[in-house]
Each structure stands twice: as structure tokens, then as C-alpha cells.
């Protein structure tokens, strides 16, 4: 058999490997030097910009002219993160004015171009810019970004849309939220929450006039976390909904609003075919209920679902001595599952 490689070829392979080694070391040195320099320069620029912005905030933001910032400080890489930091830390009218002015001068022209770019990073930057200082005129671009295929972009654009306070955009955000997977909805709830009471009222109006199931789910989801008014009139058209998701949300909503009507609804939901709804109802009865619910909860102690049994036992425990007596009276031979649930609740700290 002939050797596959002779000295010459092996030597060539070695040379290739040595060259790659050299390239790797060179690459690392370049990366190290470049990033050290770049980070230092960005940090210095950002510090300089922060001082200028603070001066402007205290002296009056409206005076900012087009060439007020040198090109070096007006780049989005420097300006956008600094303004974002200010937004997180300061809640000030002068800052708001300044943000709108600076965004209009230096950032929005870029954002308008980048809204439809193929690069997700550019679209993401555009969404960040609109979230920073959204204005009524930006609704077309914000709407485009709300419908972006990337969750990373549309979730930021949703915040921008809510911030504009325009019902049309808020409705779009609600549609998006209703279509989104349940575990991703917290981002949109957050957007509505930080929008404040005005946005909340707009959501209620949208819900009242809505005939769209997706919007209804989103609105009810928001009400289940933020409910300040009597929910019963709002939710009555969905109480008998065939969707377990909606019944679950309604159980959550009424659990937060103590009234006879709420308690009755929760008692009814204890017999719901869906275990998640029964579980939520048992939680709600534990919060709002009293000794009058003991009979229903006793039945739930023998539920097919162990979480419902455990939650019912906890609800009984929360009623005090009467509920505890029920749990103590359970027998392991006749009602083994109810007994287990009762023991669980009784031993919990």
C-alpha cells in the first residue's frame, strides 16, 4: 500500500495550520484592541452626551437646533442607548420634550428607512426609536413593526403603539396579543400596564364595541390582571363561553372582585368540565368564599385532578376552624384521595 501523503504534502498541511494559527492569534489581538478602543471611545462619547443632555434638560429642551450635536454624538449608536438610559431613570417633562426633539432630528429619519429593511437588527433599532419617542405621525411605521414576523421586534413596537395612546394602534396590539401564545402575552400586558389609566379606559371601550374573539381574549386577559371596576357587566357575554381559555380568564377576573355574584360564578365553575377552570375556581373560592362554600369544596376534594383536590383542601383550610374540621374528618379508607389532599393542606406551614 502506498502512503497517502509524503513529506511535501504533510509540510504543506503544516504550513496551512500554522497560517491558521497565525490568523487566529492575529484575529484575537485585533478583536481585543479594536473592542477595547471602541468601548472606550463609545463610553467617552456617551459620558459627554449625558453631560450635554443634562445641561439641556435644566436649561430648556426646546432650544435644541439641528446642528446642536456634533456628528460623533448624534450617531444612533451613541444617542439611542443614552436616551434609553435617561428614559429608564428619569420621569421628567423636559426630558420628554428633549427626547421628541432629538429623535425627530437625528433618529426618526433613520427609523423610517429601517422600518422595512430586511435586516432584523435595523427593524429592531427602528422599533426602539419609536418606543423611545412615539408620535401620532409615526402610526404607519409603528403599525408595520407591530406586524413584524420577529417577536423581538413586534413586542417593542407594541410598547410604542400603546405609548402613542391611539385607539387604533392599541386595538392592533390587542389583536396581536390575542393571537400570541399565552406564555408570550405578558409582554403586551406590560405595555398596556405602563400605558396607565387612559390606555386602560381605551381598552375597556375597545372591548365593549368588539365583536372579535381574539380582541376579547386579550382584553379579558388584561382585566384578569388589572381590574379596577365592577367586571360583571363587562364579562356577562362570555360567562357561558364554550372556550375553556375564556372561562379560565373569567374565573380569574371574578376572583379579584369580591361580591355575591362573583362567588356564585366561582361555585358554578367548580363543576366546569375543564380542570384548569375548576382549579382557578377553587383558588377564587379560597379567596372570596366562606363557610357557605364548604359543601361544594367537599365535592371538589374528590375531583379527578389532583391539583383541584389540593387547591380545594387549601381553600377549606383558609375558612378557619369549620374548614379544618372538614379536612380532619376525612377518612383514608373511604375517601383516600380526599384524605391525601386534606393531609397536604393541613401540614402546609
Amino acid at each position: 500500500m502506498k502512503p497517502l501523503l509524503d513529506e511535501n504534502i504533510l509540510a504543506k498541511v503544516a504550513i496551512v495550520e500554522l497560517s491558521l494559527l497565525f490568523v487566529a492569534i492575529l484575529l484575537m489581538v485585533i478583536v481585543k484592541v479594536y473592542y477595547t478602543k471602541k468601548n472606550r471611545s463609545t463610553k467617552e462619547s456617551q459620558e459627554e452626551l449625558k453631560n450635554i443632555l443634562l445641561d439641556w434638560i435644566f436649561s430648556g429642551a426646546a432650544a435644541v437646533e439641528k446642528d446642536a450635536l456634533p456628528k460623533r454624538l448624534a450617531s444612533w449608536q451613541v444617542l439611542l442607548p443614552v436616551l434609553e438610559q435617561f428614559s429608564e431613570k428619569l420621569d421628567d417633562e423636559a426630558l420628554e420634550q428633549l427626547k421628541i426633539r432629538l429623535a425627530a432630528l437625528y433618529l426618526k429619519p433613520l427609523a423610517r428607512i429601517w422600518t422595512c429593511k430586511r435586516s432584523w437588527r435595523k427593524r429592531n433599532t427602528a422599533a426602539r426609536i419609536y418606543y423611545l419617542a412615539p408620535e401620532r405621525d409615526d402610526q404607519k411605521e409603528i403599525l408595520t413593526l407591530i406586524h413584524d414576523k420577529s417577536f423581538l421586534i413586534r413586542s417593542i413596537a407594541a410598547h410604542a403603539g400603546v405609548k402613542t395612546g391611539r385607539p387604533f394602534l392599541i386595538e392592533e396590539v390587542l389583536k396581536l396579543m390575542g393571537r400570541e401564545h399565552v406564555r408570550r402575552r405578558h409582554i403586551y400586558r406590560h405595555a398596556i400596564k405602563i400605558g396607565g389609566w387612559n390606555v386602560y379606559e381605551i381598552v375597556i371601550d375597545i372591548y365593549k364595541n368588539s365583536r372579535n374573539a381574539v380582541v376579547d381574549v386579550a382584553c379579558l386577559d388584561i382585566f384578569s390582571h388589572e381590574m379596577a371596576t365592577d367586571p360583571h357587566k363587562l364579562i356577562e357575554r362570555h360567562v357561558e363561553s364554550p372556550s375553556p381559555e375564556i372561562r379560565l380568564i373569567i374565573a380569574r377576573i371574578v376572583s379579584k372582585y369580591p361580591s355575591r355574584q362573583s362567588l356564585q360564578m366561582l361555585k358554578n365553575y367548580l363543576g366546569d368540565p375543564n380542570p384548569a377552570v375548576r382549579l382557578e375556581a377553587a383558588k377564587g373560592v379560597g379567596i372570596l368564599g366562606d363557610a357557605s362554600c364548604i359543601e361544594q369544596l367537599k365535592k371538589s376534594l374528590s375531583d379527578n385532578d389532583w391539583q383541584v383536590r389540593a387547591q380545594s383542601a387549601l381553600a377549606l383550610k383558609s375558612f378557619g376552624e369549620e374548614g379544618v374540621q372538614v379536612l380532619r374528618s376525612l377518612h383514608p379508607d373511604t375517601e383516600p384521595e380526599a384524605y391525601e389532599a386534606g393531609r397536604y393542606a393541613l401540614t402546609l406551614p
Binding site: M1, P3, L21, V31, R121, S155, R183, R184, H190
Partner: protein, 477 residues
């Protein structure tokens, strides 16, 4: 018996075949490693861009994100357990339950937890979804109601995690070790990654070496190189292994190992698959293979996720004995897992996993110590009888060392481009030095430790966990 001249003639023929075989193996394996590195390079940079764009804070501020259970199996962890629990409490993510599973410890692990957190015995009514060793007691903290402790008879790490999964009522759970430190910021990123990818059921994150770092309750305050020689070499190994060995697979369906020290799962999926196999030494590797297989059998997406951010910092062994035990155990785990799922190998039904990933692990990882040992042995033998071509041997050794070094330097360059944890020139110089030095002595020992796994399989077919001498984080500097 043939005359001596005939023997040499035949031997030389074999020697040339051996030389060619070694060369083909070297080029194939290293070529694939190089491709994996380029895959990792692309994936890590892409991930880095997303990190910059993500708003993790929104999730942290929210009170209604998905709840997550943090499961920690603990066996004789009296030195580290209190620190571990405290760091888990310190995580910014709000919706968390902490489940510590005391796996029949013979030291004060349980007593330390009882004293520190005011544990009270509870009666737990949840049905046992996965069969485990009997549970002695369940405890819940009076002071911290989201801390649960399961005290059970010893059954190994996989069995302990299964016991934790049985009491887990959240949609997701995260598994880590008691001797590992969870980085708050990176953990939030891992949570966001997992929760926002609704179809993903299994995900892992990078692990780095904690020895030599300055550690406080809020996490790593200063990253540094350990003073111990073995630990320093493991810094290089861990970086290379998690960049190339995990992130490299990102473009082709994700890694087929999700390390048990940093693993994130959807609870229902793991319960449906029967949890971790307690009979397995490398239960994390076996589970990932099983997960991929089952998903593909059910025509579902078998993708596993991985993020390159250093989520976990772990204390690595610093003595030859404990390191050797660990590596033997890892190799046994690899062999067991691959043997159990041998049906995946070259099976087109399982796509890239069957046709590429598993065969690559068999030939480039499992059999690597045998091939390397044979190489050393035959080269020595050939030199002794005058059959070896000196230039071939020298070039091969230099090329092998050079390639290992090259891969380590590439990984360091990628680290500098992205996370920059080892950022001082002193650390970089040390990294370069140790990545070269690992080839002398350590590499050969590593071959022997891994060969010991085959010996153990041949000798008894069973192996007990080696004891790793724990120092506890407070003593690590």
C-alpha cells in the same frame, strides 16, 4: 511462522495502512471540528446580536410570566448547599420555586437546610408521575414558602431530579448542581430564550469554571484564572467544549447533550418521557438522545436549544484523582447513552441526528481515546523496531497539537468578540499558555482516564460515582 524478513514486509504493509488510517481519521475529525467551530462562530455572533436587542427587564418586572421550578439534586453537599440556595433566592426572576432534593446524603446537608430555612414537614399529595426511590419526607420552608425540600433514599442524580420533577407543578423546570453558581443576568436571558420560544421543550446554557473567580452572594464579581494547574486547563476545555461541542450544533437541530448542571425543560414533556433514567451515569446525555428520538418518532420538532451565555459557574475538580474519576464517569455515561440508543446510528429515519450527530459522537468522541492510545502505542513500537517514518510521526504530533491549540485560540477570539469574561491580558496569556500545555501530559492522562471507562465496562459493567472533594465556594479564590 514466517521468516523475519517476511514479517517485516507484512508489517510495513500494515504500517502504511495504519499511517493512512490515522491521517484520514485526523483530517475527517478535525475537519468536522473546524466546521462545527464555524457553525458556532455564526450562531454565537447571531445570539450576541439578539442579546443586545432583547429587553429582559420587561420580563423581570412582570409578575405574570411563567413560573419556573429550580431543581437541585444534592448528595453530601454540606459545604455548598446553603450558599447554593441563597444564590437561587437572589435571582431577579420572580416566579420561581426552589426544589432541593436530598438524595440520601450521609452528611449534614438536610440539617443545614432545616436550620437555615426553618423547614417544616408537609404531606405532599401529588401523584408520583415518575417512579423513584422512596421519599422519606417532604419539607416546606416556613420563612420562604417557595422553598421545598424532598428528602429521599439515595438513587443517584437522575433519580433525585425525577423526585424533584414529581413535586414540580410549574410548566418549566431548570436543573442545576449544588456546587454550581447561577449567574443572575444570564439566567434571565436563558429564561427569556426558553419562554419566548414556545415550541422549544429542552434547552441548555454554557458552563464556566468558578475556581479562581471572586464570588459573592449576588454572583461572580470578578472572573479570574484559577491558580491550580488542572483547574486552569479545564477553563480552556470548558470554553472550547461549550462553544464548539454545543453551540456548533445549533445550526443542525441543536446539541445532543444538554448538561445536567444547566438544563431547562418543559415539565410535561419530561414527565411524558418518563424522566431521567436513573440507571444511566450520563442521564442528561441519554435523556437528550431519548428526547430527540421520541420527538422524531412522533413527527414533532426535535430541536434542542442552547445559549452560549455563561449561565452556570461550577467548581471543577483540582486533584488528579477526582478529575480522573469525573472523566471516567463522563465517558462511561457517553458509552452507556450511545449503546442504549444504538438504533439511531446511521438510521435515515432520524435525519441529521442519526446520520451525522450520533455517528460523529461514536467515532470522534467515544472511540477517540482508543484510537489515540493505539497511535501512541504503535508509534512507540514502530520506533522501537525501526518501522516508523520519523517525519510522519513528528508532523502528526505537531499537527494534532497545533490543531487543538488553533481551536482553543479561535474559541478565545470568539469569547473576546462576545462575552469578554477573560478580558485582561494576563488572563488571555494564561489561556494561550494552558491551551498549549494541555497537550503535554494532561491530554495523555485524559486518554487513560477515558480508557479506564472501557476497562470498567469490560470488568464489571457497573461503576459507582466517584467522590469529588468539594471545597465550597467560600474557599475558592
Amino acid at each position: 511462522m514466517p521468516p523475519a524478513s517476511t514479517f517485516y514486509q507484512i508489517y510495513f504493509e500494515y504500517y502504511t495502512a495504519f499511517e493512512n488510517g490515522i491521517l484520514v481519521y485526523y483530517l475527517a475529525v478535525n475537519g468536522i471540528y473546524l466546521l462545527l467551530f464555524f457553525g458556532a462562530f455564526y450562531s454565537v455572533l447571531r445570539r450576541q446580536m439578539k442579546i443586545e436587542a432583547e429587553h429582559v427587564e420587561i420580563m423581570l418586572q412582570s409578575e405574570d410570566t411563567a413560573a419556573v421550578s429550580l431543581i437541585v439534586p444534592a448528595y453530601n453537599e454540606e459545604e455548598t448547599i446553603a450558599f447554593c440556595v441563597q444564590t437561587l433566592f437572589n435571582l431577579s426572576y420572580r416566579q420561581k420555586n426552589i426544589i432541593i432534593v436530598n438524595d440520601g446524603s450521609t452528611d449534614r446537608t438536610l440539617q443545614i437546610l432545616k436550620d437555615a430555612y426553618g423547614l417544616r414537614r408537609i404531606h405532599y399529595s401529588q401523584p408520583e408521575a415518575i417512579k423513584t426511590q422512596p421519599v422519606k419526607n417532604f419539607y416546606q420552608s416556613v420563612d420562604y414558602p417557595n422553598l421545598f425540600v424532598v428528602d429521599k433514599f439515595n438513587g443517584g442524580s437522575g433519580d433525585a431530579v425525577n423526585a424533584g420533577i414529581n413535586v414540580c407543578s410549574t410548566h418549566y423546570f431548570f436543573v442545576t448542581d449544588a456546587d454550581s453558581l447561577v449567574d443572575n443576568e444570564e439566567m434571565s436571558r436563558l429564561l427569556r430564550f426558553m419562554i419566548s420560544r414556545t415550541g422549544l421543550a429542552a434547552c441548555g446554557g454554557s458552563i464556566r469554571v468558578a475556581n479562581g473567580c471572586e464570588i459573592q452572594l449576588r454572583g461572580i464579581t470578578k472572573v479570574g484564572f484559577p491558580t491550580n494547574y488542572l483547574a486552569s486547563i479545564q477553563v480552556v476545555e470548558y470554553l472550547r467544549s461549550f462553544f464548539v461541542g454545543r453551540m456548533g450544533w445549533d445550526l443542525i437541530g441543536g446539541p445532543i447533550i444538554i448538561s445536567g448542571a444547566c438544563a431547562f425543560f418543559q415539565t410535561d414533556v419530561v414527565k411524558d418521557l418518563g424522566g431521567f433514567d436513573p440507571e444511566m451515569i450520563g442521564q442528561d446525555f441519554e435523556f437528550t438522545l431519548r428526547y430527540k428520538k421520541e420527538m422524531m418518532d412522533n413527527n414533532e420538532d426535535p430541536t434542542t436549544g442552547f445559549i452560549p451565555e455563561p449561565v452556570i459557574w461550577t467548581e471543577v475538580p483540582t486533584t488528579l484523582k477526582s478529575l480522573g474519576n469525573q472523566r471516567t464517569r463522563w465517558h462511561l455515561g457517553l458509552a452507556q447513552g450511545l449503546w442504549k440508543h444504538l438504533g439511531l446510528t446511521f438510521n435515515p429515519r432520524y435525519g441529521l441526528v442519526g446520520l451525522f450527530s450520533v455517528p460523529f459522537f461514536i467515532f470522534a468522541d467515544l472511540f477517540a481515546p482508543i484510537i489515540e492510545f493505539l497511535g501512541y502505542f504503535l508509534i512507540g513500537f514502530d520506533f522501537a523496531i525501526g518501522a516508523a517514518r520519523a517525519f510522519f510521526v513528528v508532523y502528526l504530533i505537531l499537527l494534532t497539537i497545533g490543531f487543538g491549540w488553533l481551536l482553543s485560540i479561535f474559541c478565545l477570539a470568539l469569547e473576546q468578540l462576545t462575552f469578554r469574561k477573560y478580558s485582561s491580558f494576563r488572563d488571555i496569556s494564561k489561556f494561550l499558555l494552558f491551551s498549549l500545555m494541555e497537550n503535554i501530559g494532561y491530554r495523555q492522562l485524559h486518554v487513560l482516564w477515558r480508557l479506564r471507562a472501557f476497562w470498567r465496562i469490560a470488568a464489571s459493567g457497573a461503576y459507582h460515582w466517584g467522590d469529588i472533594a468539594r471545597k465550597g465556594f467560600k474557599k475558592i479564590k
